[in-house]
Symmetry: C2
Subunit: 230 residues, 2 copies
DNA sequence: CAAAAAAGAGAGCACCGCTCTTGCTTCGGA
DNA sequence: TCCGAAGCAAGAGCGGTGCTCTCTTTTTTG
């Protein structure tokens, strides 16, 4: 299908990849705000208008980078999960949390791009949704495994939240009980609150030993989703 | 001092205020990325270069707006705190959390400006620090009051975090025990994770009843800082 | 082989932040 | 009171941006 086409099609893929690579380099160096189509073209030795044959607008280029960033952090989370597959659930949870944090510290501009404020006018195209879900799936998987295994502990859902619990979380977490799904989504958001605050300088004169602090907070998050004490 | 100066000084203050107001309107309408010095000048009927007499650069204008935004959300939190001054600590905590969330939903671009990714090359000037601390003080106050009153419940700090606890959190929270300070900072960051995810669309196909979900999560945050169950 | 599709190059438009120079108005000290 | 200094608005201009349009060349396809 996509292979063994004309040399022109392969050239197109190569140019597209080169554009993304140069753009990614600029993004990592200067941030999304400074990413310039003209500068990318300059770096590749072409004229700016030629770039529009590959990406119809700057935002489309940015969208491609967003998807790549989601995939990158998702892959980092999956690698961490697989590396500690035999550890007890709380340890696995914490390991994945730390992997996400490490990825964020290593790729601050990419992190800002996907979990910070939407950059241009905003808009998150539908195409980013599956990539965005990848990290979440890792956390869901850990909780689901714990649920099927030794079970979850210490979770409860107040009465007024009961009827909401089911339809609060989409069907992707249908195989975990509603109280766990609710706690999971909250923990998921809170994890990125911790990472974002550290990354964007909100902890600057507040938290000294951020590594220790984060591990402690991640452990409490694990408790919060019923994984027990690590 | 600042009053009864020459008419020129007052005129300067008025023009400065008008610039900030127009800029704030643009920010609220289009977001920080679209905020243009030239458009602000156009709206005020002056030429763009004249604006540089009042703000030496676009980033300085943005910094002024950042400080205002911090003050605005801080004031909203303080108002909520004062409105429920006689309620038990968990209820006060939740009320302030909801006030911050309401403010964020009402001022999404301002929220993105201060708690989203740093906009330009970045840089958070020192002048923003006191304004930024204002919201945090409200939360600290609630926990401190609870500590002096019926006391905190259910908090513990693992042994390996003990020595960190004291120097992890700056002196502004010196009058709460270290385990509470650690939990407080974590809850603070996590609160903004919840709000940010909702605001920036991360909950789009995930959380349905966000109001109920948030109140539930805020309640668990209150438990996490030792305020007990609301 | 000729028509069609794709790709690159260049000029140009409207916008941006920012600087510099030029006049005009207001203020403060001799 | 007057006059120089300081503050202020205006305009032109520089280099940068995203994006569109036209034109030419190259490659694919019927």
């Amino acid at each position: 299908m996509t292979t063994a086409q004309g040399a022109r099609a392969r050239a197109r893929q190569e140019v597209t990849a080169a554009i993304k690579e140069a753009a990614r380099r600029q993004l990592a160096a200067e941030g999304a705000a400074k990413l310039s189509l003209r500068a990318v073209a300059r770096e590749l030795g072409m004229v700016s208008s030629a770039l529009y044959r590959y990406f119809p607008s700057r935002d489309d280029l940015l969208t491609a980078l967003i998807i790549d960033a989601y995939d990158s952090v998702g892959e980092a989370a999956e690698r961490a999960r697989d590396a500690v597959a035999d550890a007890p659930p709380p340890a696995r949870w914490i390991a994945v949390c730390e992997a996400v944090r490490d990825w964020a510290l290593a790729h601050p501009h990419e992190y800002a791009l996907i979990y910070g404020s939407p950059v241009p006018g905003y808009s998150a195209p539908e195409t980013t949704v599956p990539a965005a879900a990848r990290v979440g799936m890792v956390f869901i998987g850990i909780v689901r495994d714990a649920h099927e295994g030794p079970g979850l502990s210490g979770l409860s859902l107040p009465a007024d939240l009961r009827p909401e619990g089911a339809r609060m979380v989409a069907d992707f977490a249908a195989d975990v009980p509603p109280e766990a799904a609710v706690a999971l989504v909250a923990a998921w958001a809170q994890l990125f609150g911790l990472i974002g605050f550290e990354l964007f300088g909100q902890f600057n004169r507040v938290v000294e030993d951020r590594e220790t602090f984060f591990r402690h907070a991640a452990g409490r998050l694990a408790e919060g989703v019923g994984l027990g004490r690590g």
